[in-house]
C-alpha cells in the first residue's frame, strides 16, 4: 500500500473493571460529574441511566461534554502522549493534542454501570513502512527528508486492538509518478 502521512487513533474504554491509577481517577471523577450534571436535566431522577436520559430528555447529549470536564485535568497529565500505546521498547511515544470524550452508558447511583471512552488522535506522523505487524513511523511530516537519504529517528508501533489509522494523506513523494 502507498505510504504517507497518517494520524493514529486510539480508543480507550474505561469502566468498572479498570485497575490502574489514571483510569480509576477518570472513572470515579467522570461518574461523579455525570451524576451531578444529570440532576440538572432530570431533577426528579426519573431516568437514572444515560441511555434513558438520551431517550427521554432533550439535551442529554450535552452530558458528553459536561462530563468530560472532569477528565480534562487527567488528560493533560498525560503530557501530550497517547496512553497505553507503546512502541516496541514499551514506551509511550505517540504525541497527541486532539481527543473526543464519550459516555457509553452510566447510572447516577450505580457506579458499576459507568462506562466511558476517550478517543486519542495522534499528531501527524510519517508512515514509512510496515514491518510484520508493526508500523514504522517518524514523527511529523518527514516526506521532504525521505528522498534525501538523511537518517531519520523512527519508532516501531505494534498494531493492537483499539488502535487504528484515522487519517491519511499521501506524501508529496508518493503521489509523483
Amino acid at each position: 500500500m502507498q505510504k504517507g502521512i497518517i494520524k493514529l487513533g486510539y480508543r480507550k474504554i474505561i469502566d468498572a473493571s479498570t485497575h490502574n491509577a489514571w483510569d480509576q481517577f477518570v472513572f470515579n471523577d467522570t461518574h461523579l460529574e455525570f451524576y451531578m450534571q444529570a440532576q440538572r436535566l432530570d431533577p426528579a431522577g426519573k431516568f437514572p441511566t444515560f441511555r434513558l436520559l438520551k431517550e427521554h430528555v432533550a439535551g442529554a447529549d450535552q452530558l458528553h461534554y459536561l462530563t468530560s470536564t472532569a477528565a480534562i485535568g487527567y488528560i493533560r497529565q498525560l503530557n501530550d502522549l497517547i496512553p497505553d500505546v507503546a512502541n516496541r521498547f514499551g514506551k509511550r511515544c505517540l504525541p497527541f493534542q486532539q481527543f473526543r470524550f464519550e459516555i457509553i452508558d452510566s447510572h447516577i447511583q450505580d457506579k458499576s454501570q459507568h462506562k466511558i471512552s476517550i478517543w486519542f488522535y495522534s499528531d501527524p506522523v510519517t508512515w514509512i513502512d510496515t514491518v510484520e505487524n508493526n508500523l514504522l513511523i517518524a514523527c511529523g511530516d518527514k516526506t521532504a527528508e525521505l528522498p534525501t537519504g538523511d537518517e531519520l529517528q523512527t519508532d516501531l508501533i505494534p498494531l493492537s486492538p483499539f488502535l487504528s489509522i484515522t487519517h491519511f494523506s499521501p506524501s508529496e513523494r508518493s503521489i509523483k509518478p
Binding site: W22, R40, N79, F89, K91, Q97, F99, E102
Partner: protein
C-alpha cells in the same frame, strides 16, 4: 583505531546510551521508566508490557473548578458573589457546598456543550463562562466574570446549580438582573452592536412568576466594573 581506544569509545557510547536511551523517538518528555514487567509471549504475538501512566497521576479537579471564568470572552467586568444559606438550619450560612454557574457571553452565546466533538488539550476557550466553587465558612463563593449578554426570548440571567459536597443537587435556579443597569451595559462596549435585551423580567417565561427571590443587587459602573451579590436559600 587502537583496540584500547576502540573499547574506551564503545564503553563511553554505552554509558551515554544508558543515561539517555533513544527510546522515545517521537519525543523525549516521557521520562518515566517502564514497569519491570516484561511482555509475555503467547503464540505468535507478544502482550504489550505494562506501562506506567507517567507522570504519576494526581487527583485533579474538574476543569469547571475556576474562580476566573472569563477565558477569552470580552465584556464589562462583573464580580459574582453568591451566598448560600440553609433553610433547614435557621438560614445559617452553608459551608462546603458546590456552586456551579454558567451564563452566555456578550453576544448571547454559551460555550459549546453538545455531543462528542473533538477537543484539544491546549484549547480552553470552549469552557468560557462556566465555573464551580466551594462555599467558604460564610457560605460565600466569588467568581470573576463579565456582565452576561442576552439572547432572544430570555431576560438577562445567570444559571446557578448548588450541590452538597457529595454532588447531590440541592437547588437549581437563575439570577435575574436589574433592568436599569442592563440597559446601561448593553448601550456600550462589546454589547452595543447586539442592542438592548428583547425580553423583560416581567415577560420572561422563567421569571414571570415573580423575581423577588431571583433578583440580584448590582453596584458599580461600566468603567469600574460591577459587583453582583445574591443570596440563595437551599434546604440541606
Amino acid at each position: 583505531m587502537e583496540r584500547k581506544e576502540f573499547l574506551k569509545r564503545t564503553f563511553s557510547a554505552l554509558g551515554i546510551a544508558a543515561i539517555s536511551p533513544m527510546v522515545g523517538a517521537c519525543t523525549t518528555t516521557d521520562t518515566v521508566e517502564p514497569d519491570a514487567t516484561t511482555g509475555t509471549t503467547t503464540g505468535s504475538c507478544t502482550t504489550t508490557s505494562d506501562e506506567t501512566d507517567g507522570p504519576f497521576p494526581t487527583k485533579s479537579p474538574a476543569s469547571l473548578v475556576a474562580t476566573d471564568i472569563r477565558s477569552d470572552r470580552q465584556g464589562t467586568p462583573l464580580t459574582v458573589k453568591i451566598t448560600v444559606q440553609n433553610k433547614n438550619a435557621s438560614c445559617a450560612a452553608l459551608a462546603g457546598a458546590l456552586v456551579d454557574i454558567w451564563h452566555c457571553d456578550a453576544a448571547g452565546n454559551y460555550s459549546e456543550y453538545g455531543g462528542t466533538g473533538m477537543q484539544s488539550t491546549n484549547f480552553q476557550s470552549v469552557h468560557f463562562l462556566r465555573g464551580r466553587q466551594t462555599t467558604d465558612a460564610t457560605g460565600l463563593v466569588t467568581f470573576t466574570s463579565i456582565y452576561p449578554g442576552w439572547y432572544s426570548g430570555r431576560a438577562v440571567h445567570i444559571h446557578v446549580h448548588v450541590y452538597n459536597s457529595s454532588g447531590k443537587s440541592l437547588k437549581i435556579s437563575q439570577i435575574a438582573f436589574p433592568e436599569d443597569i442592563s440597559k446601561v451595559v448593553f448601550a456600550q462596549g462589546v454589547y452595543a452592536s447586539h442592542g438592548q435585551a428583547d425580553t423583560t423580567n416581567a415577560r420572561d417565561n422563567v421569571f414571570s412568576d415573580g423575581v423577588t427571590t431571583n433578583i440580584s443587587t448590582i453596584t458599580g459602573s461600566t468603567a469600574a466594573g460591577y459587583v453582583l451579590t445574591w443570596n440563595m436559600v437551599v434546604e440541606a
